[in-house]
């Protein structure tokens, strides 16, 4: 599945590169390369995503618009202020972000137009001629496999264990829950992961739902025979994590790893940059890792850059 996908991608990449090259030659001046707009990049994404491009949902320009001239594209997990600064530092004025810019899933502005931080962020992106495209739904909709799942599996080194018929399920070599947690913590570079389960328990049947996940859907999967460990990004304590706790008390051998939202999805945005580079050749496309917001009292850190 993975291999087929990669082949399709490279074929499209060659076509895209050829088309761009021809355009430049016809115009006769390399300066035109600098006039690639955010709208043109979005058009190419629409052609390459492999599925329908739907209206509605949360995908939209949260900053700038299709007319913004793009010098470089960064892909980030969440459009934090740090991500904006690091993107500019990397020479990228277009940011493709999986998660919001304005602190709510749909980037709702109604209640925050007078918010002091909103004004500072808006001023910063405007001053720096930036465009930010919130690309959540369509990246999850990438065919044949959700782009977040492709990137996370690759980062974990577990692509070969993904089920062909449902890439959310993995059959891994048996290991203890503790060893699995250590592997995830180191490969995904996460500080504040939380785990429910017996650390000595043997796990091999993993179900992954990166990002936010919860509710009875998760409970139903955990209750089935195909999952002994569920790995997710974020959930509310009183739904899925509570269910895992209770299913343990009921005598079921199940476990649960909550990575944290950012690190559970951001490697999927690393893959986004690789994907984009296949058909946007004129300018750099770079993955920009974001800063994990949290630390635990045992290991305090300060990574956030406080200078604008």
């Amino acid at each position: 599945m993975e291999g087929k996908h990669a082949t399709g991608l490279s074929r499209r990449s060659i076509l895209a590169a050829g088309a761009a090259g021809a355009g430049l030659a016809a115009a006769g001046t390399p300066a035109l390369a600098a006039t690639l707009t955010a709208g043109e990049i979005l058009d190419r994404m629409k052609q390459n995503v492999g599925g329908p491009w739907r209206d509605g949902g949360v995908d939209h320009f949260t900053v700038g618009g299709p007319e913004t001239v793009v010098l470089g594209v960064s892909t980030v997990m969440m459009c934090t202020f740090d991500a904006l600064k690091d993107s500019l530092k990397a020479g990228c004025n277009m940011v493709i972000s999986h998660e919001p810019t304005y602190w709510s899933h749909p980037d709702r502005l109604d209640d925050i137009r007078e918010d002091p931080l909103y004004k500072i962020k808006l001023d910063y992106v405007t001053r720096n001629n930036m465009a930010v495209y919130h690309c959540h739904d369509h990246w999850h909709g990438l065919r044949p496999i959700d782009g977040i799942h492709v990137g996370e599996a690759a980062q974990l080194g577990w692509t070969q264990y993904m089920h062909k018929d449902n890439p959310r399920f993995y059959t891994l070599p048996s290991m203890t829950l503790l060893d699995m947690a250590k592997h995830i913590q180191s490969t995904l570079d996460v500080r504040t992961m939380r785990i429910v389960g017996d650390p000595a328990m043997t796990v091999s049947k993993m179900y992954a739902s990166y990002g936010n996940f919860g509710g009875i859907t998760g409970a139903s999967i955990l209750d089935g025979p195909d999952c002994d460990v569920m790995v997710i990004g974020e959930a509310q304590d009183w739904d899925l994590p509570m269910y895992v706790q209770d299913t343990m008390t009921a005598g079921n051998k199940k476990a649960f790893i909550m990575i944290g939202h950012d690190k559970s999805e951001q490697w999927g945005m690393k893959y986004f940059a690789e994907w984009l580079s296949g058909f946007v050749k004129e300018i750099p496309c770079k993955f920009v890792p974001i800063i994990e917001p949290y630390w635990n009292p045992e290991k305090p850190v300060m990574e956030i850059n406080t200078k604008i």
């Binding site: 934090t80 947690a181 429910v196 139903s220 009183w238």
Partner: protein, 312 residues
């Protein structure tokens, strides 16, 4: 009148030797009161709690109801807890307390939705345990939130030893604590609230003395508004990472002296149920009333040990 929606109680497993329907219970306020001796059915205590809470009726939007069990059951004791986890129910049953008053859910969703749980093995096991131990679980989160003073705010302030620092002693949600820094505060909270996996956003060396709190779940706008007020740090039970957590991180990234501490839902509110249990003892003297603290389900790689019990 109380708005505990008895009619919507979870279908109780058939109760041997007892009427299964609440209709068999004495109507609320029908003569039996604190004065009588002899067994008291759960419905009578539930009605008394709802009435004496002084909380106004929420006719449409309340999650409060009898979530499981048979309300005609005689009460042997009352256990108060934040979430009706299986572990919590076991602790209540072991102590001989069969009426469980709970702040949050029992069935793993905001509204204790049973729609898709029919065939779930954990649901069956928990239901069977509730039946076998004659437990009655009543959710009272909305009533408790509407009580004056708010038992959660009072109980958490007591647990932290912060009553004297509250800006408003009747509604302790802002505190001026003795100056410390963010790291020292997280270490102290971790000990006092028993939270092994609490997480903080911000500079560990940030001087902190003005603390705002939203115990339990913190929604986006109230959290943002509080972060924008004159506080150094915001304490929450849980808040979405793509909302207030990101907002706090962005505040730090533009040089604002702000921080956020996410305690975990139970750690961030359950001491309030200790306060509530004390209040309850003032209106119920027929049976013992206890507070049941919950174990933290999570561990992390700093301390990889499981605290959840693994047998019924």
């Amino acid at each position: 009148m109380a708005d505990i929606r008895i009619a919507q109680a979870a279908p109780a497993a058939p109760a041997a030797g007892r009427g299964a329907a609440p209709a068999n219970a004495p109507p609320p306020g029908s003569g039996r009161g604190p004065a009588h001796t002899g067994p008291v059915p759960a419905l009578e205590f539930i009605t008394r709690i709802a009435q004496r809470s002084g909380a106004p009726t929420r006719p449409i939007l309340t999650l409060d109801r009898v979530v499981a069990g048979n309300v005609t059951s005689d009460v042997t004791g009352i256990a108060c807890m934040a979430l009706a986890t299986f572990d919590g129910l076991k602790a209540a049953a072991a102590a001989g307390r069969n009426l469980v008053i709970v702040l949050e859910d029992t069935w793993w969703s905001d509204n204790d939705d049973l729609q898709r749980l029919e065939g779930n093995s954990t649901y069956k096991a928990k239901r069977a345990f509730i039946h076998d131990h004659n437990l009655v679980v009543a959710r009272f989160g909305d009533h408790i939130a509407d009580m004056k003073p708010n038992p959660i705010a009072m109980g958490m302030a007591q647990q932290l030893g912060w009553e004297a620092y509250a800006a408003d002693k009747a509604n302790p949600v802002r505190f001026n604590i003795p100056p410390t820094n963010l790291l020292a505060l997280t270490q102290s909270l971790s000990r006092t609230l028993g939270s092994r996996t609490l997480r903080a956003v911000g500079d560990p060396r940030l001087p902190v003395s003005k603390v705002g709190v939203i115990w339990g779940n913190a929604n986006q706008l109230p959290s943002i508004n509080l972060l924008n007020s004159d506080i150094d740090t915001l304490l929450v039970g849980y808040t979405h990472e793509w909302e207030a957590v990101m907002y706090a991180q962005d505040q730090v990234a533009v040089g604002m002296k702000k921080s956020l501490i996410s305690l975990g839902q139970a750690a961030g509110e359950q001491a309030g149920m200790k306060y509530f249990a004390t209040w309850l003892k003032g209106i119920i003297d027929e049976v013992p009333v206890d507070y049941v603290p919950l174990v933290e389900p999570y561990w992390n790689l700093n301390q990889p040990t499981n605290l959840v019990s693994t047998r019924i």
